[in-house]
């Protein structure tokens, strides 16, 4: 049975206004500008948290597609395993440390210590950049061993996995810099929200790197 009046009337009364009636039908197409004259207020921050969570799922799907291709391709006749440069382990420690300093920075922000926040945040950014430089150095080591993108399927996967991760990490560094240097009086979000969202993304990239490293190391 369809809903009836009783059910409708249980609903909470709206305070003031008493519901929308049809607006006068004079609207002739140009439309009123009543939305524009009000001062713009910050939108509710929850959309950014939801957005980053959903974005993470999507990025994960991208890497899962490549990972499944990796697992299918592995073991074919032309597969020559890549010897992972030991520099990569050092890079991994740097990246893990950056996640730690990021959390320290957020703690400082929550306790209102703006200076401590900025120091740890910049330290995180520096560690992130150091990781990227380390990755480039690792590529150069491989190039020195004559292992190129076009050498064999294993090397192709190595370069594309590390490269795609580096591109995402570069975006993460961009977000870190944004949080450092943006004037948040003019922004749509508060510094806390921006720092939270950035940190979720950063930790995700950190975990993703551990997964990729394990895949490249164990799956070779």
């Amino acid at each position: 049975m369809p809903a009836t009046l009783q059910e409708v009337e249980v609903l909470e009364k709206r305070d003031g206004g008493g519901g929308r009636n049809r607006p006068p039908s004079g609207g002739n197409g140009g439309g009123g500008d009543d939305g524009k004259n009000q001062p713009k207020k910050r939108p509710s921050p929850s959309r950014y948290y939801t957005g980053v969570a959903i974005g993470i799922v999507s990025i994960l799907m991208f890497f899962m597609a490549l990972a499944s291709a990796f697992l299918v391709r592995r073991g074919s006749i032309d597969w020559i395993p890549v010897h992972i440069p030991s520099l990569l382990w050092f890079n991994t420690v740097v990246l893990l440390a950056s996640s730690g300093t990021l959390e320290l920075a957020r703690k400082r922000l929550a306790s209102g210590d703006a200076r401590g926040f900025r120091d740890f945040w910049l330290l995180t950014t520096a560690l992130g950049i150091a990781f990227l430089i380390g990755q480039v150095a690792a590529w150069r080591i491989l190039v020195g061993q004559n292992v190129y993108l076009s050498s064999n399927p294993a090397s192709s996967f190595f370069y594309v996995f590390t490269g795609a991760h580096a591109v995402h990490l570069l975006a993460g560094v961009g977000a870190l810099l944004y949080v450092s240097f943006r004037n948040f009086d003019l922004a749509k979000v508060t510094r806390t929200v921006a720092a939270d969202v950035t940190s979720y993304f950063w930790h995700f990239l950190d975990a993703l790197w551990l997964f990729l490293l394990a895949l490249l190391y164990l799956g070779k």
Binding site: M1, P2, A3, T4, L5, V8, E9, L11, K13, R14, G17, G18, G19, R20, N21, R22, P23, S25, G26, G27, N28, G29, G30, G31, G32, D33, D34, G35, K36, P43, S44, S46, R47, T50, G51, I54, G55, V57, S58, I59, M61, F62, F63, A65, L66, A69, V72, R73, S76, I77, D78, L149, S150, P153, S155, S156, F157, Y159, V160, A164
Partner: protein, 562 residues
Amino acid sequence: MVTYDDGAGGPSERIASLTGRVFSTGHKTIGLEYLWLSLASVLVGMVLSALLRANTSWPDTAIPFLARFDSSPERYAAMRLLHGSLMVFFVLTAAPQLGLGNFLLPLQIGAEEMAFPELNRLAFWLTVVSLVAMTASFFGPLDRGINVWLVSAAVFSLGALLSALNFTVTTIELRAKGMTLPRMPVTVWAWFVNAILSMLIFSVLLAGCTAVLSDRLLGSHFFSAAAFLAQQPQNLVREGSLPVLWQRLFWYFAQAEVYVAMLPCFGIITHLVATFARRPLWKERLVVLALCGVGAAGFCVWGYHMFATGMNPYAPLVFAVLASSLGIPAAVLLASWLSTLWNSRIEFSTAVLFAIGFISLFIAGGLSGLFLARHDLAHAAVSEDFVIGHFHLVMGVAATFAILAALFFWYPKLFGRRMNETLGKMHFWMTFVGVYCIFMPMHWLGLLTQSNLLPDTQRVALASAGGAIRTLVTVATIWTVAAQSLFVINFFGTLLGRRKAQENNPWSASTLEWSIACPAPEGNFGSDAPVVFRGAYELAVPSGNALLPQHLSPELLAQKIR
């Protein structure tokens, strides 16, 4: 050409309004732009299909546009690719989800704007770039063209991902007060489920394109057949999987893409059926579950395109079961549409005709899909004509009917006018007859070419009958394409005409977008944020035959009833 007469003022103002539009982050502007993009693509795509058919039926006749190109089979394949890409990406994906969804989703949930307007604008421009590049890839050498095509597919994926993110977050976060999940219109559910599905599959297409591009441009070895050729005699099965790898990634996307095109159409048709039947939707919750089911199963069935290319012997069974299980949500949707329509006093406007046409095509196309979903039957039925007939009926034409139904229904909300019903009905009947004359014979053609078990004499007789059927298909294609001029005349005639819609809610619909002026004004609901008091398809009194507006408060309702 600039004219200085009515309304908009001098040229500088016009330029300002143009740049305003180019950089506007308003969801209605962007939604309309997607629709314009789709309209252009569908017209080009249709002309291409007519050219393709003409070339098949009368290969010796020189066709003006085609004469400029070499007549190699590759060129023909490239033209089919262009037809397919335009239709799938820029019509079937763009129009119902990105076009109508962008315009209507915030209105239907009572939001002022999408969650991330700037991303929305960026996504649109990525789509435009992709359209231009994909079209350009057809002209010029084919080898380079494929690279350009791949880049554009990747760019399109990126745009689709941003849009999907926007749709998902908007639906989760920006619903008006009182718009609980069960109260959302089914259209919103469909856009939402579809956005989640797009989120997952376009990532895979992006990954696939990245890998293929890297192979083609940088010489990497993701999909290379070198190993395959080197090892051919000894170990065929294992290495046989190599060229198949790209196919897997592609079909992972492409099979789900069918549901990406269809899901919003399901939502639109369900919405229209309930609105025009003027009664609650039959088993609304089950319908929503069915939409989720289509999304979930659509994500899992990628394997069934691979029956013909070889895979683990148990895999086809799994995929056949999954593909067949899509019949369950499809049956639920059908049951709901038919039960809602049953015994209702329905007014046969053009929108309703197209909705019923959709249901008819969906049944016809869905039934032939059963043959393809069964891995054992698929071997008998997989022939080009059969498959083309099947997916055009169910995906191409049915979805187009849903888009047309939606355009007739929401035209007042989009443009503040109503399209001509007489022209609309003529257009409907001509198209309806036309598409059946194209795609039903294609099924027969497909079965004819698979009739290897028959004695030779009968096969010769059948083959000669095939020629006549092919000509019929071509003539019907040209007829159907020509019939679309009625729609173009109707669409632009109404748009440029002086008659404006008199009422805000011409269809007595219940959802929020009809509570405001036509066309939807800037800022949507203005300062008076809407509050929702009930589901989208509810009656005032049990025996009544009018749907209650979602925004009507109980007090006002009580007054009205008294």
